[in-house]
Amino acid sequence: MAKTALQFRHNGRETATFVEGGANLLMVLRDQIGDMTAKFGCAQGGCGACTVLIDGEPYLACLMLAESVEGRSVETLDGIRSGPNLHPLQRAFADNFAAQCGYCTPGMLMAAKALLDRNPQPSRAEVVEAISGNICRCTGYEPIINAVLAAASGGRARA
């Protein structure tokens, strides 16, 4: 199948590759760019494990045609922290036991980051809404919601 040249910003770095027609963004990130932080879950838009930010908005990479991110900015969990320092959300997830098996965590973190970037002080209901597209089979969601609220308030979890 014919390959198309594709250029986009991947975690702030200009990236160029060739993609198969119809390839989805998740496969391009994982198989061609080697960024394994976006997870392959259901491949049909149901689980949210592949959530990435495109120009700051959360998208499901498994349903995103790779070619449609031409010239746009794609952010994955790999680009969320600055150097050795964890992003406040990552710190809060660790401190609040918001990850058990960890498979949903990258998608949860990206969905939560999109929320906090546009709404730094969300209500509990707004957090629930923001991660409503992300399925977690381990934690029962409460620790995750607490972690996002903790990150928003700059430290400790609110009861």
């Binding site: 994982r30 080697g34 394994m36 990552q90 660790a94 401190d95 990850a99 973190l109 979890a157």
Partner: protein
């Protein structure tokens, strides 16, 4: 960190223990929150083979040959 209920069994608790009764971070947590914990699909090996299950379209038939040309 989660608050531990210090009032429970307070008279039995030895506060000088190093691990018991203390909140601790799971050793795999850092990998989980940075997306670097390796899962099944994250392994890409040199010369890795891929497998696909192709099921018969006939419910009761004799298998005479397998056409692998497309594979």
């Amino acid at each position: 960190m989660l608050e531990l209920r210090k009032d429970l069994f307070a008279d039995e608790r030895d506060d000088n223990l190093k691990e018991i009764g203390k909140g601790t971070q799971r050793q795999d947590m850092l990998g989980h929150v940075t997306g670097t914990s390796p899962y099944f699909d994250d392994h890409k090996l040199q010369g890795m083979l891929h497998l696909k299950v192709v099921r018969s379209t006939h419910s009761h038939a004799r298998l005479r040959r397998i056409d692998t040309s497309e594979a």
